[in-house]
Symmetry: C2
Subunit: 455 residues, 2 copies
């Protein structure tokens, strides 16, 4: 089992006290990355660049001019974020035409905050899948059991944190790609409200669903990261008018949680029991259970929008470098070419209906509750999952609950809530109202039991 | 030539002074409607209902309990608004399945304000055209010259006002359908910001472009109507959070007008001269001329969105009652079935680009200026128009400038600004920033010369 590392807030405190240096943190992370090399978390990691950035941070600190709380903290970045100092491949052999020497806005914000960009992490090819088993760099392996998947598409970022290499990483989430691997690997992942985190410089999968965000080892760490990352950016029109993240005072009244269930929201018994136990232990919350109808129709809308937008984005690359895409990704993209305008419009209308249902059809609520995944991380060799009377592909099992947050643009967070009988992590998901990322984080703290001891 | 009638504000004042009654106004309107019957403005008008509503208004006034400024004012309604007391046909033989006894929200607001609903007006079939020559009730004729078209699709509403039958009417506007006939008939028409006027109960043409609004004989009349009509309605999600219309104090600084020109924005010399003269006479405005590039591509996006959404709405009716649609409308709807999801997505992206261009790419501006139409109202027999080196269909000539306001969701108003050498009205269009309907009206008053003497 993996050793427990410090949290990011502990690293920040230790740097502040002078008990460690950015160089020491970077060296420890590099050495840990080497130890865990078989998990295949990184697709690019240059010790020279990492140590140079760490030394620059130490020099700033010595001169009394640190750039903020993240100064000197190593943070890993998913390989679909543009980075000035590493290539960006989205783990595909079909290589995008990238602007050279450019950082995605969120990477630039980390750098301006003094963070040490700690390489690029492995991902599901083009983020177009939730297992992380399709990647031009090979699959990622779960730190809790290397014969099991990490989930994806931000699988490498989850391994980097769950393995104790770094305390934070960036991911992106179109149907759960931050939350799925965070849950499968036993850590925390936060998908902000659509439009609060800039997508500028993040290679798109589906522009009306995509949300970049952090993975970390505690909710306090998540709060520090969101404070650096969120807010308006001229490079992404969707962020217009969007405020920075302000860690608010806790809610002064009980948080109203609505626990969702019904056809299409099935889960395995042990996942269900773990979530129920976590809710039982939650402080300052009322919990009500509600059935959400029509899930398969809403899921179909998410899938149609995803396929149409992904195909639109990849069309020209597919024409030029079709052979560079893996066969399964190519098949998805070709399917997206045959959808009609009428099908897309219907999906967009169903989406509006879904947003209205969540907004006003469930009464007053502060957060919606679901498991993050219906099952613990599946074995790499298993293509099908059975749970709650269902038999679903592993791919569909991974996005089973998470797509809801993308279709409605809600902020969503996953927290670890125990281990399965086989020792694999189980995650609980909370989704907030659009724009209420701060409140969601406060509520998550009431539900959180403090993470897995075994990390 | 038509006789000049009072304005609505004059009628309101006269009712208030006791110089007239709702019954007298209604009788005069009914008699004028009969005199102008050949112009074919009305498709349903029941004197019994009109006089009963007028008498009820007079009774309220006698009892000292009027419902507001519109109490007793006859107002005509386009035949795509649901009305509890008249059938709604959209001037098509393919009859929609209507809920019985229901008013569209805007009709209900007029009734709650005491207005006398004055029948249903002729329109271009399903609002899917801008000439008003295709209608199951026959074409409408221009009060200024009955051999010329009225423009459409709210042609009957424009005739009802321009002919002096009523002082106000409701129309709807997807690519100019309020502004086009208002301009062609020499009156005022106002398309509110998308989402400030409820579409609930207005048979849709294209739900992301449609905006209902008023036609009237002065800007003061328009202000009274907007104060009754605009604002949030639970029946139309797009109105969520939208404020009522508040007639604001005039701007305390010069209004910055941007006069648009360039390829795709050509107009006839006499239209250009009339607009230039009106701008010359404008008080308290600065005028700058700017070229707006890419017009044909933006127009293509508007057309694609229009066709896709119209087809989606009409699909089931088309399958059941295809023979009820006129051949040209049927052809439009069938074309919409063959567009792909990829084409629609591209159009939606181009639309976003267009909104961004108007929002930030033209510097600071308070209103954009264009003619409403590139030519005066065409002869009924003429299928093509020539202007500024262009040769365009009469249909495309009618929407030539107006679609811009729908694609970007802007508030837009047309004001009469003179007569052509052939005695036909010329209109000037001003478009405001989204949500700034109040400011747009104030600016329009600075440009307005008070209407055509010949109305």
């Amino acid at each position: 089992m993996l050793q427990k590392t410090d949290l990011m807030v502990d690293q920040i405190a230790a740097l502040g006290r002078g008990d460690t240096t950015a160089r020491l943190l970077a060296e420890a992370a590099l050495s840990r990355a080497q130890v865990l090399g078989d998990l295949n978390a990184f697709v690019a990691l240059d010790p020279v660049k990492v140590l140079a950035a760490a030394d620059a941070s130490d020099a700033r600190r010595a001169a009394g001019s640190t750039l903020g709380p993240l100064d000197g903290i190593p943070i890993a970045v998913k390989d679909n974020y543009l980075t000035a100092d590493y290539p960006t491949t989205a783990c595909s052999d079909a290589r995008p035409l990238e602007p050279a020497g450019v950082d995605a806005t969120l990477v630039a914000r980390l750098r301006r905050g003094g963070a040490v960009i700690f390489g690029k992490t492995n991902m599901h090819e083009w983020a177009y899948g939730a297992t992380n088993t399709t990647s031009s760099f090979g699959l990622t392996r779960n730190p809790h059991n290397p014969d099991h998947i990490t989930g994806g598409s931000s699988g490498g970022s989850a391994v980097a944190v769950a393995g104790g290499i770094v305390t934070a990483a960036l991911g992106s989430d179109t149907g759960g790609s931050i939350r799925i691997p965070a849950s499968a690997c036993g850590i925390y992942g936060f998908k902000p409200t659509y439009g609060r985190a800039s997508r500028h410089g993040v290679l798109p999968l589906s522009w009306s669903l995509d949300a970049p965000g952090p993975l970390a080892a505690s909710l306090d760490d998540i709060a520090v990261l969101l404070s650096c990352l969120l807010g308006e950016d001229a490079g992404d029109a969707a962020t217009r008018g969007s405020p920075p993240f302000r860690d608010k005072a806790p809610l002064s009244r009980p948080a109203r949680l609505v626990n969702l269930s019904g056809p299409g929201l099935e889960r395995s018994d042990e996942v269900d029991a773990a979530v129920a136990a976590a809710l039982q232990g939650a402080q300052g919350c009322t919990v009500e259970t509600r059935t959400l109808p029509g899930m398969r129709r809403f899921f179909g809308a998410w899938e149609t929008i995803l396929h149409c937008e992904a195909t639109a984005y990849h069309q020209s690359l597919l024409a030029k470098q079709g052979a560079g895409f893996s066969p399964v990704t190519r098949a998805h993209l070709e399917a997206g070419q045959h959808l009609s305008a009428q099908e897309l419009l219907r999906a967009q209308q169903v989406r509006a209906e879904f947003c209205a249902l969540l907004s006003t059809g469930l009464g007053d609520w502060d957060a919606l509750v679901l498991p993050t995944l219906p099952v613990p991380a599946p074995a790499i060799t298993s293509d099908w999952q059975e749970f709650g009377g269902r038999r679903e592909t592993t791919q569909d099992s991974m996005t089973w609950f998470c797509w809801l947050g993308n279709l409605a643009g809600l902020p969503a967070v996953t927290l670890p809530c125990g281990l399965s009988s086989t020792g694999l992590p189980i995650g609980l998901m909370l989704m907030g109202r659009p724009g209420e990322d701060e409140r969601l984080l406060q509520i998550a703290k009431r539900v959180d039991s403090g993470g897995l001891d075994t990390r």
